[in-house]
């Protein structure tokens, strides 16, 4: 029905046949995309189990967790974690989730798989770089995981690795010797991998678009991956030298981040004049754009998927794309809002709060466009659509608290409390993951040629949706009453009455986490037993639906798609009584 306009070709790409070249060191962007997805899946379950451990300890500080003493006899004697080991696990939870899940899943995994297909290319611009980029990421993952198994465990300095704690070594506490070395090396390796990946995404988008695929005809997801790769290119290029300087402070005795006169464990540290704030500036100059690296691809994915289920184009396509670009640009001007209470000049804090408030404008525009597009729609409530709606909900819930935190005067009170934990989990973590879930249910048929179970999908959605609200909504109240974050147990008088709330959150977190097993089972079951998917099961318009499910090695079977429309031709008079036009559908006149 929706044939790809083609030209005869002389020869087709031949797919590799050996196991190693086909599945392990593959140059095929689709295999690499799945590899990224697999790595993110492993990371997210490790990160989730870590969050379970943290939550159990917070709510029941005396509870003996059986296998924990096996992981670290020193960190968790008898299965009860020490306050330091709590911080070690917290560091690993944050690091795994931010780098190996929220960066890898919506951006690297789906971007690798679908960006080339959505623009009608056979592969990425630099397939070899692409392969290197995944395996470098994998190496970073292995190095990071190794920190669990070194003598004093993972670092206690958090995923932000604030100096001087992260820069000084074993005198400052457990995990800050070899564990912190491994952390810094892993993140440096991750930077290199991300730079290679971003370079590939940008070059592919610029150079390999099919005939007729003008920039404004690219689907929103492609736009999001493109803008994100520009952000990632410039952000990781700053984190990399920052990590190098941190490593030099740790192993070469330099004083970039370590101030003079620092006494730890009764020992004067042999450093002079370094600036801990310098690390924060470099880190957050990367770190804030990183937030958008995590969320923009999901916004793009949602904006691509939602219209397919409302059966009408999104409102304001150019405003949406413009908002993404504006966010990408502004994301470089707001890093100081992570540092309001760092000891930075308060005047700087006021300066940084202005662009922070301004960046809410494009974010609000995007949210309003997504929401307003629902008005009067004849919605198809399949699982991907539910996750799109869920995304809008959690993105708004998390975004609204951002307005408060953008004010230095309010942030001074709220910064070190659970209010911030609630904010960033909603707006970055859960929202981004909802994009990943929507993308998974939507694209699974294309990636594996089989549909996922709808009923399991709906169970998964409702349990997750209600679960995350039960987990993160109460944290706002905890924060407002002054419940500090990063503490391993709440034994102070004023915090003790809050323990029941923490128990509620912990139970909700355990159940919400368990609901993810439904998703895991759905993935596995559908991979082998799901109903066979047609070429275009959702009646979508973009190019990935104009090829077989799953696509052949060269994506379009030796053909070169020609694009005649933007991706928004929904709710129109299509061929054969359908209500949509594929991007490849030739105009009637020709």
């Amino acid at each position: 029905m929706h044939e790809v306009s083609t030209h005869p070709v002389a020869h087709q790409h031949t797919a590799p046949t050996g196991f190693i070249r086909k599945y392990v060191f593959s140059l095929d962007h689709k295999v690499i995309g799945k590899q990224y997805y697999g790595l993110a899946l492993v990371s997210v379950f490790i990160g989730m189990v870590l969050s379970w451990l943290l939550r159990i300890h917070l709510a029941y500080p005396d509870y003996h967790i059986p296998f924990l003493s096996k992981l670290s006899a020193v960190g968790a004697p008898g299965g009860v974690m020490t306050p330091e080991y709590y911080l070690s696990l917290l560091t690993m939870h944050g690091t795994l989730m931010v780098f190996f899940v929220l960066t890898n899943a919506p951006f690297a995994a789906f971007g690798n798989y679908f960006l080339p297909i959505q623009i009608g290319a056979e592969d990425m611009a630099f397939p070899r770089f692409n392969m290197m980029s995944f395996w470098t990421t994998f190496a970073a993952f292995v190095v990071m995981m190794a920190s669990f198994f070194v003598a004093d465990g993972p670092p206690i300095s958090g995923w932000t690795a604030y100096a001087p704690l992260s820069a000084v070594g074993r005198d400052a506490g457990p995990g800050l010797a070899l564990g912190q070395d491994l952390w810094a090396i892993s993140i440096a390796i991750f930077c290199i991998a991300s730079l290679l990946g971003a370079l590939n995404f940008i070059a592919t988008t610029l150079d390999l678009r099919a005939r007729g695929m003008s920039l404004l005809r690219m689907p929103y997801s492609t736009w999001a991956w493109f803008v994100t790769s520009v952000i990632a290119l410039l952000a990781f290029a700053v984190l990399l030298p920052a990590c190098v300087l941190l490593i030099l402070d740790r192993v070469a005795g330099t004083s970039f981040f370590i101030p003079a006169g620092l006494v730890l464990s009764d020992k004067l540290q042999p450093h002079s004049g370094g600036s801990p704030l310098l690390w924060q500036h470099l880190f957050w100059f990367f770190g804030h754009p990183e937030v958008y690296i995590a969320i923009l691809p999901s916004i793009g994915i949602i904006a691509t998927i939602l219209p397919v289920f409302t059966r009408r184009p999104l409102l304001g396509p150019k405003a949406l794309i413009g908002s993404m670009v504006a966010i990408g640009f502004l994301s470089y001007m707001v890093w100081g809002h992570h540092m309001f209470v760092s000891g930075m000049n308060p005047f700087s804090a006021n300066i940084f709060s202005v662009p922070t408030l301004i960046i809410t404008i494009p974010a609000t525009i995007m949210t309003l466009l997504l929401t307003a597009s629902l008005y009067g729609a004849k919605m198809r409530f399949d699982t991907p659509a539910l996750f799109c709606l869920g995304f809008i909900s959690v993105f708004i819930s998390g975004g609204i608290s951002g307005f408060y935190l953008a004010q230095p005067s309010l942030d001074t009170y709220l910064h070190a409390t659970y209010f911030v934990v609630a904010h960033f989990h909603f707006v970055m973590a859960v929202a981004s993951l909802f994009g990943v879930f929507a993308g998974t249910y939507f694209w699974f048929p294309k990636m594996f040629g089989r549909m996922m179970s709808e009923s399991l999908g709906k169970w998964h959605f409702w349990l997750t949706f209600l679960g995350v609200y039960c987990v993160f909504m109460p944290m706002h109240y905890l924060g407002l009453v002054g419940n500090v974050r990063r503490y391993s147990a709440f034994v102070d008088d004023y915090l003790a009455p809050l323990i029941p709330v923490h128990r509620f959150i912990t139970i909700a977190a355990l159940l919400t986490g368990a609901a993810q097993l439904i998703f895991l089972w759905n993935l596995i079951w559908s991979r082998f037993r799901g109903p066979v998917a047609s070429e275009n099961p959702w009646e979508a318009t973009s190019l990935e639906w104009a090829t077989t499910s799953p696509p052949p090695f060269d994506n379009f079977g030796g053909k070169h798609p020609v694009v005649y429309h933007g991706p928004n031709e929904l709710g129109v008079d299509g061929p054969d009584g359908t209500d949509f036009l594929m991007q490849t559908a030739a105009p009637k006149s020709s």
Partner: protein, 216 residues
């Protein structure tokens, strides 16, 4: 050869428009001049340049902050060999351009072009050796990586640049290897990308040299 056809296809696709005949893998597009042919490796180098600029901008701002934040910054004399190194790298950009213009002139100037490429490669190698000599000179004066923030930044900047330049040397070496096999500049990809990267490394060094002169 396969790469050429693919390039031609992408060149055709970029032109777009409905009036053009369909471009296929069979189509042999007329050879375009070296300087006009679009190459994705060139796009890649441009993107890489943005990232490298960001890295060195971050290090520059870190140096300015670090110098201002404490009173322990000690100035020192840059080793004299850096002046020679600067001339060498500057000269290598000129030899590279000479090589490319010879290669473009056609078959009869091909070997002359290859000679100039080899000279460029050698100059690049000399530059890196010169940097190592500069490090030895400083070490001889007792200025090591951790001696003072100024020497720390000196080593970090020069080592980071040298590392990137070694990448350029490897790229140039690979280009010479490819040209040796094809014996034709028109049928070899990556010429423009390599030269762009090389000139950028040259420019980046000039920036760093001025910066180090001013701050060390």
């Amino acid at each position: 050869m396969g790469v050429d056809v693919q390039d031609a296809i992408h060149a055709g696709q970029k032109l777009g428009g409905s009036g053009l005949p369909p471009v296929t893998r069979n189509t042999r597009l007329p050879k375009v001049a070296l300087s006009e042919r679009p190459e994705r490796s060139e796009t890649g180098v441009w993107i890489g340049i943005f990232a490298i600029v960001m890295t060195f901008a971050a290090l520059t701002s870190a140096m300015i902050v670090r110098e201002g934040v404490a009173l322990d910054w000690q100035h020192f004399q840059l080793p004299k060999i850096l002046y020679l190194d600067t001339v060498i790298l500057f000269f290598s950009s000129w030899t590279l351009e000479t090589a490319l213009s010879k290669l473009k002139e056609g078959e009869n100037r091909f070997s002359a072009g290859m000679t100039w490429l080899a000279v460029t490669l050698a100059l690049g190698g000399m530059f890196v050796i010169g940097q190592v000599v500069a490090w030895r000179v400083l070490a001889g004066q007792g200025l090591f990586l951790a001696t003072n923030p100024s020497s720390s930044f000196f080593y970090v900047f020069t080592a980071a640049h040298a590392l990137h330049l070694v990448g350029g040397i490897l790229g140039l070496g690979y280009l010479i290897y490819k040209l040796n096999r094809t014996r034709s500049a028109a049928r070899t990809t990556g010429i423009r990308a390599t030269s762009l990267y090389w000139h950028f490394m040259d420019g980046l060094w000039v920036y760093l040299f001025v910066l180090l002169l001013a701050r060390m």
